[in-house]
């Protein structure tokens, strides 16, 4: 059960990857091949994104609440500095300490794989666009997008 539920995303990755790869190998329609290629690439996006996710982790952005408190503490510390009173610096320090513990409690997911995938998505789009453009040109020249028919036409000429 652990194998199925715990690795759910990875099963999807493998399923998508093999689906895409099968289409690329088995289909003779050029459009289908291009779309199969796209599915194949998409599975890799999911692989990376799954890898970056930490259980219970949140987006690696400092929550607004803490930013506000931090800002407040800074002002406080600044004011304390101005007044030069020892009593007022005490709470400011404790607020800073509290902030430090709060930040430690938050678990963040790894942002890097997602960032890498932004690049890979751009590459994927470029590949699909170029492939479809080539298919358009092939269709203009041959009048078909079926590979078998294209090969037959090539042999004739």
């Amino acid at each position: 059960m652990e194998q199925v539920i715990g690795l759910f995303n990875y099963w999807i990755v493998i399923f998508l990857m093999m689906t895409g790869f099968y289409i690329v190998i088995a289909r003779r329609n050029l459009i289908k091949v291009v779309i199969g290629l796209n599915i194949f690439q998409t599975s890799v996006f999911l692989l990376y994104i799954t890898m970056g996710k930490v259980t219970g982790g949140t987006a690696p952005i400092i929550p607004p609440r803490i930013v506000a408190q931090h800002h407040h503490a800074d002002e406080h510390a600044g004011a304390a500095h101005d007044s030069l009173a020892a009593e007022t610096t005490q709470p400011a320090k404790s607020v800073a300490g509290e902030l430090a513990t709060q930040t430690e409690e938050i678990i963040y997911s790894n942002p890097l794989p997602s960032v890498l995938m932004l690049t890979a998505i751009v590459v994927g789009i470029a590949t699909t666009a170029l492939a479809l453009a080539l298919v358009v040109r092939i269709r203009e020249d041959y009048g078909t997008v079926e590979e078998d028919e294209i090969l037959a036409l090539d042999i004739q000429s």
Partner: protein, 493 residues
């Protein structure tokens, strides 16, 4: 000041110039810009390699982000050597280009041609100098995507189909590489090559490492056109415009070989790839089968471009053979053969471009007797052909000699004998063309042909001249490759 920024300028210059070509809009402006930029990158790479030879490897932190957080560019002996000849060939082929491009590519598409050419150059150079594994993938795709576009510019209707076939296989290869990078990242948490090498648990490592290595090897093998996955190459080279074939045949597969060497020797260690896994046996087996199968196929080709394309697949076999030996001479042979084969094939495809311009055909029957009307071009073919076979005083001999020494040193007698036999096949296919050029009754086209224009002959002879020059004077070819091999194998450079 600027001297410190050279590694990044090498990439940034062609990368910025490419869209600039499109913005300028006219081919009269685009060509000089592309030419200047390509020669600038060549000059930069010479400056870089000179510095590496004086002071050792250069590490450049992109955007001043220190590695492993930022991307690092590394120029050492190996990457510097590959970078140098890629930039050099990029510059020489571009100098040769205008006449051939005018004849083979529609005027409206020429600006785009120069832009794609620069992008391809930037991608290939980037793959050489980057020290970041994901960055290798990005540059691989930049160079691949632009080369698909370049190939599809061919004048026949088969060109887009050849480009699409290459695109499908190439993308599968690149995606395999990406999966491998992902798995390595999962195991090590870093993308910097040196960092990965330090952290990767290779000895008795987990299966993830094995799978990652398998994915990356297969991915790069597709891009290298190693024998069973070479099917994209013959059509792509045959139907692409002559200039594109000369450039891509000389550089693209070599840079993938470089990435593979980097992967095996610098990241996963040879102990892992050759000791733990039987990759050396597999590679040398595939290499030998590839050499014989592709050379035999080359003999029966009627289209000269296709003949050379099959010969390229065979030559990749020699490089892999050297790399799989894992000793000083073997790796030196593998690395120097990248350079040697690059200038030989670059030169020969440039000769084909000259014939294609004057005869309007690359079919052997139209080339009959062209040696009489185009003596200089035909002579260039003869010289390049000798180098391809591996006759002494040419570069082909240098790499074959090193390969032979290495095979004998490690007691692989079978490999040595098979290698010598395979050279006989090369003699056959080179001779077929020479015979057609010199000893056959001239065809109609050959009778009317005139000598190729000087603007094309001079770069062609520059390239062919290099095959003779570096066959005798090996300080900067085999010498540099030897240093690269020594540093890869862990010795002092």
């Amino acid at each position: 000041m600027i001297a410190n920024q050279l590694p990044v300028l090498l990439i940034v210059l062609p990368l910025i110039a490419a869209p600039l070509c499109v913005l300028l809009g006219s081919r009269r402006m685009a060509y000089p810009l592309a030419l200047i930029v390509s020669w600038c990158t060549f000059a930069i790479s010479i400056a870089l390699i000179a510095r590496v030879m004086q002071t050792g490897p250069i590490h450049y932190d992109l955007g001043n982000w220190e590695p492993p957080y930022g991307i690092e560019y590394v120029v050492d002996y190996l990457s510097g050597f590959v970078m140098l000849f890629v930039a050099g060939i990029g510059a020489v082929v571009l100098a040769y280009a205008p006449r051939s491009v005018a004849a083979e590519i529609a005027p409206g598409k020429q600006t785009m041609f120069y832009a794609s050419y620069l992008l391809c150059l930037a991608g290939l150079l980037g793959m050489c100098v980057t020290g970041d594994l994901f960055n290798v993938f990005v540059f691989l795709e930049i160079s691949s995507l632009s080369s698909y576009a370049l190939i599809s510019l061919g004048s026949t209707r088969r060109a887009p189909l050849a480009a699409l076939k290459y695109l499908i296989l190439g993308t599968v290869g690149a995606t395999f590489f990406l999966i491998g990078v992902g798995l390595v990242y999962q195991m090590t948490g870093t993308l910097n090559m040196e960092d990965i090498a330090a952290r990767l648990p290779t000895v008795g490592g987990p299966r993830t490492v094995l799978v990652a290595f398998a994915f990356m090897t297969i991915g790069l093998c597709i891009k290298m056109a190693v024998f069973p996955v070479h099917t994209w190459l013959p059509n792509a080279y045959t139907y692409a415009p002559s200039v594109v074939t000369a450039f891509i045949a000389a550089t693209a597969t070599k840079v993938s070989v470089y990435a593979f060497v980097r992967l095996v020797y610098s990241i996963f260690t040879p102990q892992f790839a050759f000791g733990l896994l039987p990759l050396d046996t597999a590679l040398s087996g595939l290499a030998l089968v590839g050499i014989f199968a592709a050379s035999a196929a080359a003999i029966y080709q009627e289209n000269v471009k296709r003949l050379l394309a099959y010969s390229s697949i065979a030559q990749i076999g020699y490089m892999l053979l050297g790399i799989s030996m894992a000793n000083q001479d073997g790796v030196t042979a593998g690395v120097v053969h990248m350079f040697n084969h690059a200038i030989i094939k670059g030169g020969l495809f440039m000769v084909v471009g000259c014939f294609a311009l004057r005869l309007g055909s690359v079919q052997m029957e139209d080339w009959r007797g062209a040696g009489k009307t185009m003596p200089w071009t035909a002579f260039a073919w003869a010289l390049g052909g000798l180098a391809l076979i591996g006759v002494p005083l040419t570069v082909g001999f240098v790499s074959k000699w090193l390969l032979l020494t290495s095979a004998l040193e490690s007691g692989r007698w079978g490999v040595a004998i098979l290698m010598l036999c395979s050279s006989l096949l090369a003699i056959v296919y080179v001779w077929r063309v020479i015979e057609t050029l010199y000893f056959a009754e001239p065809s109609e086209k050959a009778k009317q042909a005139t000598e190729a224009p000087l603007s094309m002959l001079i770069p062609t002879y520059a390239m062919i001249g290099c095959t003779l020059l570096f066959g005798v004077w090996t300080t900067y070819s085999a010498g540099l490759a030897g240093r690269a091999a020594a540093s890869l194998l862990g010795g002092a450079p």
